[in-house]
């Protein structure tokens, strides 16, 4: 068995299946055994997290990414989905909460929705509550600015400048969408900008957790 095959087998492995060829590869391959160890760490950490009501921003971010990747039509293993979002274990409260919410979302997302079916429980993408997303991200940003302590002022300045730039784009796209709700490209960029802001805040939090 090669690493790629083992990757496809990871879900079964995490569920306790141990095919002999997979076990043999697991024993011999440091890369795959490390990946499994990481997944087990995430799974055990996730099991201890309290149930959270995931913020709408995560729906937006997740939906945009899944759609972009074509994953709404493709079944992927839990391991693959977890690895995509959580390359490293979370270390701060903000990152932990984010990961917990995302993990919960990943676990309960319908695996193969038909194209066009919305992810928000009834409405189409046009009914997404951007205002709610905006408020929740603003709250996360305030939390990050208050709690995160990075040592390199250039890095801090870069995060702040880039967050401000993304905010400007959000404002501009929001205006376009308000003017014309059918402006599909403005809507897509608005979703992308919210996703980018989520990513920036997550990265900021992760770097803080790693001590710069």
């Amino acid at each position: 068995m090669q690493c790629q095959e083992f990757d496809r087998y990871a879900t079964q492995w995490m569920e306790g299946e141990r095919a002999p060829e997979a076990a043999e590869h697991f024993q011999a391959c440091a890369r795959c055994s490390t990946k499994i160890a990481d997944l087990e760490l995430i799974a055990s950490a996730a099991a201890t997290l309290p149930e959270l009501d995931p913020p709408a921003s995560l729906w937006i971010s997740l939906h945009a990414r899944l759609e972009e990747e074509g994953l709404l039509r493709t079944r992927r293993s839990l391991g693959e989905r977890l690895r995509e979002y959580f390359p490293a274990p979370p270390r701060t409260a903000l990152a932990t909460a984010t990961i917990g919410a995302l993990a919960a979302l990943l676990l309960f997302i319908p695996q193969s929705p038909e194209p066009g079916i919305s992810m928000d429980g009834g409405g189409s993408p046009s009914t997404w509550s951007f205002a709610r997303v905006h408020d929740q991200l603003a709250s996360a940003e305030a939390e990050a600015k208050r709690d995160v302590r990075l040592r390199d002022p250039e890095v801090v300045a870069s995060y702040h400048q880039n967050l401000a730039m993304v905010d400007n784009l959000i404002g501009e796209c929001q205006r376009k969408v308000n003017e014309d709700p059918n402006d599909e490209l403005a809507r897509q960029y608005l979703v992308t900008a919210y996703q980018q802001k989520t990513d920036l805040l997550s990265a900021l939090s992760e770097r803080d957790a790693l001590g710069d």
């Binding site: 440091a30 055994s33 040592r151 250039e154 870069s158 995060y159 784009l169 402006d183």
Partner: protein, 307 residues
């Protein structure tokens, strides 16, 4: 797990050489015995680690560093050599081996450390098929002739990948990316960093930045998928008469400037149809084997002839 080697321990070499000098020197020129750490003091104020790890299969090197110059090159040995250097006592380099996985970490020892003291520079020699995961917030990252998956995550670093192949993923906040003769799947995402793709051989390229510039000059593989997207930054694509591409270009508020002859599509993309303040172009060159999508919100898009 092997015992970690630390830059702050007695085994440190105090070296005169900067990483730039290390980069210029041949890796084979100064060979400590395999598996041993150098320990020759040279100059006060500089800490240097020289450590080799034997590997017996596909290796993986992970590096987490705050600030500095990272240079990774391949060689023909089944060894990973780490040359690390920093001038501050406030940071320490840990190098740990778990099987074929080598983990490198620069960590901070004091809370009152100044930004300048965070710097640690690395030169790393690896077998050709070594996976790399590099985090370096500021400075630069350069990788040459490594043929396995490479993942670089940075805030401000300038990233250069040259003659590499595999799944290549680069995320920056503000750092630029240059990909020269890269082979494999390429993904770049940034907020304000730009990217240049020069003579890449890929069937899957996805590049996204908000304000940075994207530039592509290279061949297009049959059935390849190339997506370049910016919010306000410009996009520049070079095409030659022998390319076979199906091109979709959309800018919501910026201009599209096209210098090449395209066969217009009978079915146009409905995104921007009819908007007075938008630009759109859909057409085919040759038999349209590769699919190329260029999208910007307010940036200009240039499609130019390759000389």
């Amino acid at each position: 797990m092997n015992a970690p080697f630390r830059s702050g321990a007695a085994g440190w070499t105090l070296g005169l050489c900067s990483i730039a000098l290390l980069a210029a020197s041949s890796p084979a020129a100064a060979e400590p015995p395999a598996g041993a750490a150098d320990a020759a003091p040279a100059q006060a104020g500089t800490h240097r680690l020289d450590k080799r790890f034997n590997v017996d299969g596909r290796a993986m090197v992970t590096l987490s560093n705050a600030q500095g110059t990272i240079v990774v090159k391949s060689w023909q040995r089944m060894e990973v050599e780490i040359l690390a250097e920093h001038s501050s006592d406030g940071v320490e380099v840990d190098a740990v081996q778990h099987g074929n996985r080598i983990e490198l970490l620069t960590h901070v020892l004091r809370d009152d450390i100044s930004p300048a003291e965070l710097q640690a520079n690395y030169q790393i020699f690896v077998p050709e098929e070594t996976e790399l995961e590099i985090k370096n917030d500021s400075g630069s990252v350069s990788v040459r002739q490594v043929y396995a998956d490479i993942n670089v995550d940075t805030v401000l670093s300038k990233v250069e990948l040259t003659d590499v192949s595999g799944n290549l993923t680069v995320h920056t906040v503000d750092g630029s990316f240059t990909c020269t003769r890269c082979v494999g799947r390429i993904e770049f995402a940034s907020t304000s960093g730009g990217a240049r793709f020069l003579q890449a051989t890929t069937r899957s390229l996805r590049a996204q930045t908000f304000s940075g510039e994207l530039f592509y000059d290279g061949p297009f593989s049959p059935n390849g998928n190339y997506k370049l997207s910016t919010a306000s930054g410009p996009i520049q694509l070079l095409l030659s008469g022998t390319d076979s591409v199906k091109l979709s270009v959309h800018s919501r508020k910026g201009n599209v400037e096209n210098q090449v002859k395209l066969k217009p599509e009978s079915h146009t993309f409905g995104f921007l149809g009819g908007r007075k303040d938008s630009s759109s172009l859909v057409g085919t060159m040759g038999t349209g084997l590769a699919r190329v999508e260029l999208t910007s919100f307010s940036g200009k898009i240039f499609i130019r002839k390759r000389d």
